[in-house]
Symmetry: C2
Subunit: 366 residues, 2 copies
């Protein structure tokens, strides 16, 4: 196999597929990037068996073939080469020579046949979104998946399509994040749970542009994202997702409207007095026109008043400050509405258009 | 004590003295910043007994007094306060209230009398440098001090004044870095060893401006840096520094002139094939007009040719690539000259004006 690329094109392609290279694995072939130039185009592939990424790189094929190269060494080399023409030349024993200007690297390759090819997917049913929307909806929900694997379903996000609406849900037992997105084209109703890792990695390679589209194909066990010259294939998480509808309620006894940024800054300051691993709640003392935010820890105490618009009863309620911050930071509105029932019932942060709902359980402060 | 500051002024002052707060100490009072407003100005001080920093902060004294506050909490609070007027109010029991707009923090303070005051220094003999020159000369030498304390003298840098020249030297047993700086004013000859930690910290708070001056005062056990409203006091390292003059030689059998940036890029690429903790040398094969840089590791091999101007004998010599990179990166010249005697003798990188000498020991490649 002998190929020529511009260093920039090759570096871009390598950087995309690198996201699917596992950091730890017992199958050393998965630590490789597959370069496949057996057909008319040059494809790079990485695959950790849960997540696979394939991208087509511009380049010239002087001699067809394929080879698997250690991802770390290959990507390091490509990144540090001068911005010039890069040639990759592999022989029958997979010995690979990478040259660029006067630099020449000799590295051992691996037999491409050992590499686990991505499964073929049935490309019937799909939805389409802008890269911007997908990247945003991931950012706005990913923080409330569970970090550990105790409950596999909590490590993923529900993608539910019903009546032309894509609903994305994540929850970790203390809070729920819900985002609703209107789809432009119709699609049959669907309900899948996508691994959080997939969403994290894909959001790093999405352009975030309004004008760039992503197609998402649904297959029995897989989800396929297609955008630009890149394909991302992810295994789905098995099982039935939590019934969140019964956890939501539109009743409330207290409604508070306040400036989002001022609320964030105030919580931010309060958390200065919280040492890591300490779980001190912030206490919101909500009265007419004013909310007093208080915290009291071994390091000292802090309180700060914020102007609010309140309807309904006064309430004193405690929260994990991180949970409030996580939700407030991904909302774009200048003002947010908070809904409370009592000091033991969840608080809802939601807009009037039904675009988002963030549910947060309070902390017992007695 | 009751004081008023602008948040920006206070944050700047706190940030400066914070550099002298030890990260680990058995004396908890040293984890504090002293606020002293007993006289007409407000001084912040931190002191880890090796390094002390004091700075005067603009502010209004409503009530004189002093207090010591935990540096971490105090600096975190000040940093996160809104850009407005900050009031610090301490009572007789050192309980301290920090207010800014509607935010109010209550934190316990410590008795200022427990704080270890900075020793008084005899301010007779001094030199003056621009902040730019001092910051540069530290950057250009600090990398070759020894990282561990096996030999205390190697963890510091020699500051030697002789005939109106400041010579700064660092060495770690494998290499030596020497910089010479002409002083504008005369000063009596001196030889002191300054702790590397002091130099690292001071270089973070120097402005780096050509027009800002630093005065350096010499006392028996201490060095005092004075610039702007800030004073940095450092204990010196005891003992006689290494006699480096006898390690230097101006004889050579091979001289090479090459483009510094091209050489750096080439070594940079070669080190891609070196795994951490591996100690593989790069080999320079120097012939007429061309230098072939080679490396050979378990991960693969690389070679790259660089155009050079050579006088004298051909030579093949190996180096720890990091040592070459460290020296080359802090030289500003577009072209550098390398001097060799044989494959077992040190290599010198030096300019014709005597501003810098970098000595690097070779690695045995047989």
């Amino acid at each position: 196999m002998k190929l020529h690329f511009s260093q920039a094109d090759l570096a871009e392609g390598v950087n995309i597929v690198l996201k699917a290279v596992p950091s730890k694995t017992t199958m050393s072939i998965l630590e490789c990037i597959l370069i496949d130039a057996t057909s008319g185009e040059i494809r790079l592939t990485a695959n950790d068996m849960e997540l696979g990424i394939e991208t087509v790189v511009k380049g010239t094929i002087e001699e067809h073939g394929k080879v698997a190269l250690d991802a770390k060494i290959f990507s390091d080399i490509v990144r540090k080469l001068p911005n010039s023409i890069v040639t990759i030349d592999s022989d029958d024993r997979d010995l690979t020579v990478i040259t660029c200007e006067k630099a020449k690297f000799d590295i051992p390759g691996r037999n491409a046949e050992e590499f686990a090819a991505l499964p073929m997917i049935d490309k019937n049913d799909h939805i389409s979104l802008s890269q911007f929307s997908l990247k945003e909806v991931i950012r706005q929900t990913i923080f409330s998946i569970a970090p550990n694997e105790n409950n596999k379903l909590m490590t993923g996000e529900l993608f539910e399509i019903r009546n032309g609406i894509l609903k994305v849900v994540s929850l970790d037992g203390h809070r729920i994040a819900i985002r609703n997105l209107e789809l432009k084209e119709s699609c049959s109703d669907r309900k899948v749970v996508v691994p959080g890792k997939t969403l994290n990695e894909i959001s790093k390679i999405l352009s975030g542009e309004m004008d760039d589209q992503v197609l998402i194909y649904f297959d029995y066990n897989y989800l396929l994202f297609e955008f630009g010259r890149t394909t991302v294939l992810s295994r789905l998480i098995d099982g039935e997702y939590f019934r969140i509808d019964q956890m939501l309620s539109s009743d409330y006894d207290t409604k508070v409207i306040l400036n989002r940024q001022a609320f964030i800054s105030s919580i931010d300051r309060a958390t200065l007095l919280v040492r890591e691993n300490d779980k001190m709640p912030v206490i919101l003392d909500i009265r007419d026109e004013v909310m007093d935010l208080q915290i009291n820890t071994a390091l000292g105490s802090m309180d700060e008043e914020t102007a609010i618009v309140k309807t309904g009863k006064d309430i004193v309620i405690g929260f994990n400050p991180k949970f409030l911050l996580d939700a407030l930071r991904v909302i774009d509105d200048e003002e947010v509405s908070l809904y409370f029932i009592n000091a033991k019932a969840p608080c809802f942060i939601r807009d009037d258009d039904g675009k988002y709902i963030y549910l947060i359980l309070p902390v017992n402060i007695r």
